[in-house]
Subunit: 331 residues, 2 copies
């Protein structure tokens, strides 16, 4: 069976279309079928080589309201990308554009997986020296209900298994204390539901705390989209501050240069581990199609990785696996 | 006027009583009056020198339930420490013990500042190369109301002013987008209240995001105790992971050692900046007395710093300033 192409939103992200199209071309050259989604004159804006194009003549800007813009701009690139998946013209969509609009497009055009209450953004938290942790929801739902969090746990476990090859991923509920009674009323209720849902398909390890996010305590950490988004961005900001401070320290005196240079072979792998671009973006779990949300600042390399992840998630049939994982809970 | 001594809970924290008492002795030797709170045989457990002792013959362990343990163990060290402040025998209390029990003791024995709905834990987030940020609430209230958050903003601004000498501290509301409409219903409601309360005494700069926590965007960041605690511990865990990875990289080959050694003078100040022990712990704002909550893992040095902060907060009359800041809003 030939794989359908991955639909890449050529106009999404801070470095669109150049970096996006360059990433799409590199992925195609490496053997993954890709179709660009962009305006009819995209070939005049940047060199698209011989990549095919799905025409979409509106662009949703990074600061537009997600839901509203998708309803108004029906010919927007990320709307057409989601339609391509729905219509069987593409196997997945990748966008580094407006996250809210990407979610809304995927939800409105692809629809939800049967039985899923709400889709959630699964993002990757690196852990130097160990396996990354899947954190969800990273921002799709600012307010959630306990039973949605149970589904996030189920979907996150499927994602962790196929994304990182983890058998029986350890799933933790993010709270402010390890004991079952710790946290707000939402966590207390969720804890009970997760205990009841735990079994062969869900390896619930109990509450985890903020200090466990960047660690190997859990493979999947479940939380509401408000907390998840704050955690993700707090870590991104923290790592950026530390890297900047390290570089500042290394260049604070001329005599440090040779020593810093000598250590670079040891430091680069660490820097690489912490770089969000290495993970190919987040995945919107629970919609009826593969939707990869890449960072707004995505470079060519980030897009190459995002397309690779999209391909792997299609080949692993993660959407079908999520459907299978959710159904019994609702039966 | 002679300053009343600072009451130090000798039995609180992972390294009690040795590290705690050593810190108390060092602070006293440096000129800050200190009184220990501990069992009658404390002098047999560790060398207390000539420090005075307030007797308290029960200990609340780190894993006990805060509220319950305080109601049951009326002769616990941190309960007696709070009573010493209430009864005018001490000017402040410092504990590295059970955080929940410390809060409960302070609240039940000292009482709230008139007009304050709920006390909040103000913690310090370091920023390499710049001024630390005050984050509150870091865990006193897992669930909050919008008007409590407004008081947290007012109390946090007073604390930032006296703790770091900031004139007109920039106060941000932690959310998941900068625009006023972003976030959950609690943030939307709070945003409106903070806009209305902003003025000469409250420099509200709007929503801030997770990436702004470890930065100089805001001097004070306001959030609920669930999110604040998760953010604090996420950063602590993240910094620990990065420092461990750096040390691992520097020792991964023998030839790196001389270069790492040569860079140590540049790296130590950064390490120092990121070390929570350097900041002397968190302060419980809104109770009618100075209560400093030091990290459970506090070393002697952390206790010295905590006692120093307690002294500064007493001398600046932060409790009186909070009372003045809260009153007009309720009038």
């Amino acid at each position: 069976m030939t794989m359908l192409p991955i639909a890449v939103d050529a106009m999404g992200g801070d470095h669109a279309p150049d970096a996006i199209v360059a990433g799409a071309k590199a992925a195609a050259a490496a053997g993954t079928p890709v179709v660009l989604v962009g305006p009819s004159n995209l070939g005049e804006l940047t060199d698209i080589g011989d990549l095919p194009l799905i025409e979409a003549n509106e662009v949703i800007e990074m600061d537009e309201d997600g839901g509203r813009s998708v309803r108004r701009k029906k010919d927007a690139t990320l709307v057409r990308a989601a339609e391509a998946v729905r219509d069987g013209k593409a196997s997945a969509m990748v966008s580094a554009g407006n996250t809210g609009a990407t979610m809304a497009s995927a939800l409105l055009r692809m629809g939800r997986v049967k039985g899923v209450n709400r889709p959630a953004i699964a993002t990757i938290i690196p852990f130097p020296g160990g396996r990354p942790t899947v954190l969800l929801d990273a921002g799709a739902n600012a307010e959630v209900q306990a039973d949605w969090l149970v589904q996030f746990a189920q979907m996150g476990a499927v994602f962790s298994h196929h994304r990182f090859g983890v058998d029986s991923p350890k799933v933790g509920l993010l709270s402010i204390g390890e004991e079952p009674g710790k946290g707000d009323s939402l966590r207390k209720e969720t804890f009970g539901l997760l205990e009841a849902a735990a079994g062969d398909d869900l390896n619930f390890i109990g509450n985890v705390e903020g200090r466990d996010v960047m660690s190997d305590t859990a493979d999947v950490i479940v939380t509401d989209g408000f907390t998840g988004n704050v955690v993700l961005k707090t870590l991104e900001g923290g790592m950026k501050a530390v890297v900047a401070a390290l570089l500042g320290a290394f260049t604070s005196k001329p005599e440090y240069k040779e020593h810093a240079d000598a250590l670079m072979p040891a430091l680069l792998p660490l820097y690489e581990t912490l770089d969000p671009e290495a993970y190919g973006g987040a995945m919107l779990l629970g919609v009826d199609g593969v939707c990869i949300i890449s960072h707004g600042s995505s470079s060519e390399r980030a897009i190459v990785n995002a397309i690779q992840v999209a391909r792997e998630m299609v080949e692993a049939d993660v959407v079908g696996e999520i459907s299978a994982a959710i159904r019994p809970a609702d039966a």
